[in-house]
């Protein structure tokens, strides 16, 4: 009985940590510009695919991971320079639509560059499951959870303790006033895309040993991550992680105790109810609306 409960919990934590890590990337760009970047899933895909390709070519895993993160950050910055910046005056909704176009474009380029098969990475600390009171957990799940926590700490530090982060928040609250006190609004947006791409790439690399990756992987991870971010409150790093874990655990318990046929429905019902009563999500800031 307990073993079953624990196994469902571990299953939920594994999926939930993956959704959480995917959701974290939405926070930075949203905080900087109120734009929801629908190309975030593609950052995850590029990070995972680049790391898998480099590792398969014989590069040591840590080096491949760093190189993949750098590549993804360059893609993020190029995206901002070439697609977002020219549309900067077009309004938030228009830019969101630009990011949707960008995601389709990036996926297309990835399909040309890479093959259409699935790729994987070796698990960071082996494939031997950890046994806990009759249930089992893969060490890689702990990696995903640990990296999520490290990323929240990083986001918190960035926004509260660095000048760049504070400048970013200031731009988000009032871009005109921020420019008046000397903040370079263009630079802020560029940095926010670079950082989001970094978060996405890190997420993509850590989850690849569990879920595998292909050029279509960004669609599912982006969507689940977006759901996690909305549930937790857009712009909140902690919110994305709590939201992701909640969705993952709800799915696993629904599959374990009710029926696997209902598991997706249960997760969506929870999201629906939370947003009905807390429209800004669990940890969302209220009343931050750019007029």
């Amino acid at each position: 009985m307990l073993a079953g409960f624990l196994q469902y919990l571990f299953a939920g934590l594994t999926s939930g940590a993956i959704y959480a890590l995917a959701g974290l990337g939405f926070a930075i760009i949203y905080n900087a510009s109120h734009v929801i970047n629908f190309a975030q899933g593609e950052f995850i895909m590029i990070g995972g695919m680049a790391a898998a390709t480099l590792a398969a070519a014989g590069m040591p895993l840590p080096l491949a991971a760093v190189a993949a993160v750098v590549v993804t950050m360059l893609v993020g910055m190029a995206l901002e320079k070439l697609a977002i910046e020219p549309a900067r005056d077009a309004g938030v909704v228009a830019i969101i639509i630009v990011t949707i176009g960008a995601s389709i474009f990036l996926r297309g380029v990835a399909q040309l560059l890479w093959d259409k098969g699935f790729h994987s990475l070796p698990a960071f600390s082996g494939e031997r499951p950890l046994a806990v009171l009759g249930a089992t957990l893969m060490p890689q799940s702990l990696w995903v959870l640990g990296v999520s926590v490290a990323m929240i700490a990083l986001i918190w530090w960035f926004f509260n303790r660095t000048v760049y982060g504070k400048a970013m928040l200031a731009t988000s609250y009032n871009s005109v006033a921020a420019v008046l006190v000397g903040i370079n609004a263009k630079r802020v947006l560029l940095v926010s895309f670079a950082l989001s791409a970094m978060l996405g790439a890190v997420g993509g690399i850590v989850v690849t040993p569990i879920t595998f990756t292909n050029t279509d992987a960004g669609i599912m991870l982006g969507l689940k991550g977006f759901a996690a971010a909305v549930l937790g409150g857009l712009g909140s790093g902690l919110g994305a992680v709590v939201g992701g874990l909640l969705v993952g655990i709800a799915e696993a318990f629904a599959a374990g105790y009710l029926s696997s046929a209902y598991k997706d429905a249960i997760a969506f019902v929870i999201i629906l109810f939370v947003l009905m009563f807390l429209p800004t999500g669990l940890f969302g800031k209220k009343g931050v609306d750019r007029a």
Partner: protein, 383 residues
């Protein structure tokens, strides 16, 4: 106003001339194809497209069929059924093709069937679903094995090993869903009792919750996973993770080295039905399929530098059956070609021996499948 009419009339005239010249150009055999070369089914559609292109180019170099060159027109439907229907219509109406090959997935095939039946053009599908040829449709044929045959082969093997109480875990979309239905339908005929019936979504990162339910179901003797893509690899890994020791069966959907590579050591001991193409070296020397699959594997791997899977084989078989029928018909009369496809008998293809009839537009017998077990990352022929 008058100017507009004149230009319209001119356009219409040019259009008629163009279509007239297309109809008059009977010095080529036009083979039309709509495939999912991109999108979620691209790892089937892409090799299919490459195979058609390679063999059409080769046949043309050798002089074509009936003394005519073959002209291949391929559209990429991206895996979207509505696009497949549109492209089928374009192939029939605008390109005026003599025969259609294609429909990478059951979804794209079914969407195009209505257009094709109306236009009365012979069509050979490359998709697995049994619904494509059951009930029999006059102009529609297919080359791959069906999900029903896979379920039958698996249940027959289970019965032979005395495993009669079985748990199913199936993907809840497309291929897995259809396979799940066929499994439920065929189980009683083999004396198989389904004790647990779990599902997962194609991109779920973890299925240990579903597998734990199976583990906690008393009396289960074997587990059968029907799915496609990365799902079965995750099922296999999670299966070993939670320490399930029961025999695990997969469907023919994972009969590629990619599955073995992704699932890693967890794949050892897994059984699945597969076509002879996967194990050409292990086929008996007397097996009529042996030379065919050995040659195809060699040619494909030399041309594309990747390991062959069953999917390009389906395209190869379709092209061979179509051209043989055109050869026998001796003309490009669509009704005659259709009749000749239906008369295909004893064709040895990559999928097995094909003998069609007015009631069987696939023509494969369950013997076309071999049961293989994965042993140290390699296929091992069981029977």
């Amino acid at each position: 106003m008058v100017g507009k009419f004149v230009s319209l009339a001119a356009t219409a005239a040019v259009g008629m001339m163009l279509s007239a010249s297309a109809a008059g150009a009977a010095d080529t055999i036009k083979v039309g194809s709509f495939l999912s070369a991109t999108g979620p089914a691209s790892f089937l559609g892409d090799p299919e497209k490459k195979t058609l292109e390679m063999y059409v180019a080769r046949l043309n170099k050798d002089g074509g069929v009936l003394g005519k060159k073959i002209e291949l027109v391929v559209y990429d439907d991206g895996g979207a059924p509505d696009k497949a229907a549109t492209f089928a219509k374009r192939l029939v109406d605008n390109d005026g093709v003599d025969i259609l090959l294609g429909g990478t997935t059951t979804g794209t095939t079914m969407a195009a069937i209505k257009v094709i039946e109306q236009a009365q053009v012979p069509f050979i599908s490359l998709a697995g679903g049994v619904d494509i040829v059951e009930p029999v449709k006059k102009w529609v044929f297919k080359t791959p094995h069906t999900d029903r045959m896979a379920a039958e082969k698996v249940f027959a093997d289970m019965k032979k090993r005395g495993l009669t109480k079985v748990a199913l875990i199936s993907e809840d979309a497309g291929f897995g869903k259809s396979g799940h239905e066929q499994s439920l339908k065929m189980a009683p005929a083999y004396g198989i009792e389904i004790l647990a019936d779990e599902t997962y979504s194609p991109k779920d990162p973890d299925v240990t919750a579903q597998l734990t339910r199976i583990k906690n179901t008393a009396g289960v003797q074997a587990v059968f996973n029907f799915g496609f893509g990365q799902g079965p690899s995750i099922v296999t890994r999670n299966y070993r993770q939670i320490g399930l020791a029961l025999p695990l069966y997969q469907s023919h959907g994972v009969a590629s080295k990619e599955y073995v590579r992704l699932a890693g050591e967890a794949a050892n001991g897994v059984r699945l039905p597969a076509a002879g193409l996967v194990i050409p070296d292990q086929l008996a020397a007397t097996d009529p399929q042996k030379p065919v699959v050995t040659a195809f594997k060699k040619e494909y791997e030399a041309a594309f530098k990747v390991e062959v899977s069953t999917f390009p084989g389906h395209a190869y078989d379709a092209l061979q059956i179509a051209l043989a029928a055109i050869n026998r018909a001796g003309s490009l009369d669509k009704a005659k070609i259709r009749d000749e496809i239906e008369r295909t008998s004893g064709y040895v293809g990559t999928a097995g021996l094909v003998s069609m009839s007015p009631t069987d537009h696939m023509g494969l017998s369950p013997a076309a499948f071999h049961m293989v077990e994965i042993d140290k990352g390699e296929w091992k022929l069981i029977d």
